[in-house]
């Protein structure tokens, strides 16, 4: 695994890992700024939409507290205004938010202690929170940083909604194009996630999934793309497992021990250990290299 050292060496180093609780909270609030650039204007849009749809003003903050999930809330306002049956509302929420099912795999909830804090962190696990924490190197993560980011993000969202309903149509035409900041944020975080783990197969499989999804099911592209992506990753896992099994068979015939432990233990066990160990070492090494560049 190569790390892309060249472009960063001359560049100013990104912040070192925050140490004190205060620094961690400050880092979390800083993390939230780039997300807030998209979240706050979207919150205002939600507030305006609620008023335009003829719904009571309290519905905007109530919605953003009941379920903290931006895109779904914007969608719900239209459905509620049209008095859509509750079953259809439920189905929409299920499909639009289904992607969150996959976030549990890599979201660092284990860092958060205490039932209340854990519950809030899960409740506030929006795309931006997942994206920011998943693209952060392990050493940079901490519970205060994560929670501060999530609380700040919800403050932007609820605050934006309140501004929207308060100012209403008195607001001059909102600046066009601010919603692009969400796309910019995800682009940047993809680059960061790629740097902490240069996993080209995952990028290729994700690219194929999203392309297919955009062609086949444009209205629910995100939903389809994630399902396809996970299916392809499962296939990749099966392929690796099969290849490992085949490799095990061939080393059995050649019986050429590569390490001392290979001789000592049974073949299956040692093969597995060597693979795990070498994989772990490569990962540690590449991560260490990346973080050295950071420091």
């Amino acid at each position: 695994m190569q790390t892309d050292i060249s472009p960063q060496i001359a560049a100013p180093a990104p912040s070192p890992a925050p140490v004190t609780r205060r620094q961690q909270i400050a880092a979390g609030v800083r993390d939230s700024f780039s997300a807030g650039l998209g979240i706050f204007p979207l919150g205002i849009a939600l507030g305006l939409l609620v008023l335009q749809a003829g719904l009571p003003a309290w519905f905007a903050p109530a919605l953003s507290v009941a379920a903290f999930a931006g895109s779904m809330e914007l969608l719900l306002v239209g459905m509620v205004a049209a008095a859509t049956p509750l079953a259809a509302v439920a189905l929409t929420v299920l499909v639009v938010n289904f992607r969150h099912v996959f976030y549990a795999f890599s979201f660092p909830l284990h860092l958060v202690r205490g039932r209340l804090a854990k519950t809030y962190s899960v409740y506030a696990m929006i795309d931006e929170a997942y994206a920011v924490s998943a693209s952060l190197p392990e050493s940079q993560r901490s519970a205060p940083r994560l929670l501060a980011m999530q609380i700040a993000s919800q403050a932007y969202w609820v605050g934006g909604g309140l501004v929207g309903v308060a100012v209403g149509s008195a607001l001059p035409a909102p600046v066009k194009g601010l919603e692009f900041s969400l796309c910019a944020l995800f682009t940047v975080l993809t680059l960061d996630a790629f740097r902490s783990r240069e996993d080209i197969p995952s990028v290729v499989l994700a690219g194929a999934s999203v392309t297919l999804a955009l062609v086949l099911t444009p209205p629910i592209a995100l939903f389809t793309a994630l399902l396809l992506f996970v299916a392809l990753l499962l296939a990749r896992h099966a392929l690796i497992a099969r290849r490992a099994a085949a490799g095990r068979g061939s080393t059995g015939r050649h019986a050429a021990p590569r390490t001392a432990s290979h001789v000592a233990t049974t073949e299956t066990a040692s093969r597995a250990t060597t693979e795990t160990a070498s994989r772990a070492m490569t990962e540690t090494a590449s991560r260490a290299a990346t973080e050295t560049v950071d420091a």
Binding site: F59, A66, V80, G177, F180, D192, L233
Partner: protein, 108 residues
């Protein structure tokens, strides 16, 4: 205007389903932490999911202003370029990329 009971039911549905979708997988995965497949997926997923979110949100921005496809692609390139060349400072990269897009959309 819809009845207060209907609005309350919508809020309860949105709250319950969204929270369940986020919480249940953690409970399930806790019992599978040692499984090789779960650990592999945990490592493989982030970069792909983030890439998918980037592409679908790009499409969202384009769908909102259909004539701006070229501007959006240019702004993505600027965002990535700034990020790689000036030390991966997220706020700077997102800020410059968004400013470029907003200027292009509003001034041209």
């Amino acid at each position: 205007m819809p009845s207060a009971a209907y609005l309350a039911a919508v809020l309860a549905i949105a709250c319950g389903i969204t929270f369940a979708l986020r919480a249940v997988p953690f409970a399930v995965l806790r019992t599978l932490r040692t499984s090789a497949i779960v650990r592999r997926l945990a490592l493989w997923m982030p970069v792909g999911i983030l890439g998918i979110l980037a592409v679908t949100s790009l499409r969202g921005a384009i769908a909102a202003e259909p004539h701006t496809t070229l501007y959006a692609l240019l702004a993505v390139a600027v965002t990535a370029g700034v990020h790689l060349l000036s030390g991966r400072r997220t706020i700077l990269s997102v800020g410059i990329g968004t400013t470029v897009y907003v200027l292009l959309v509003n001034l041209l």
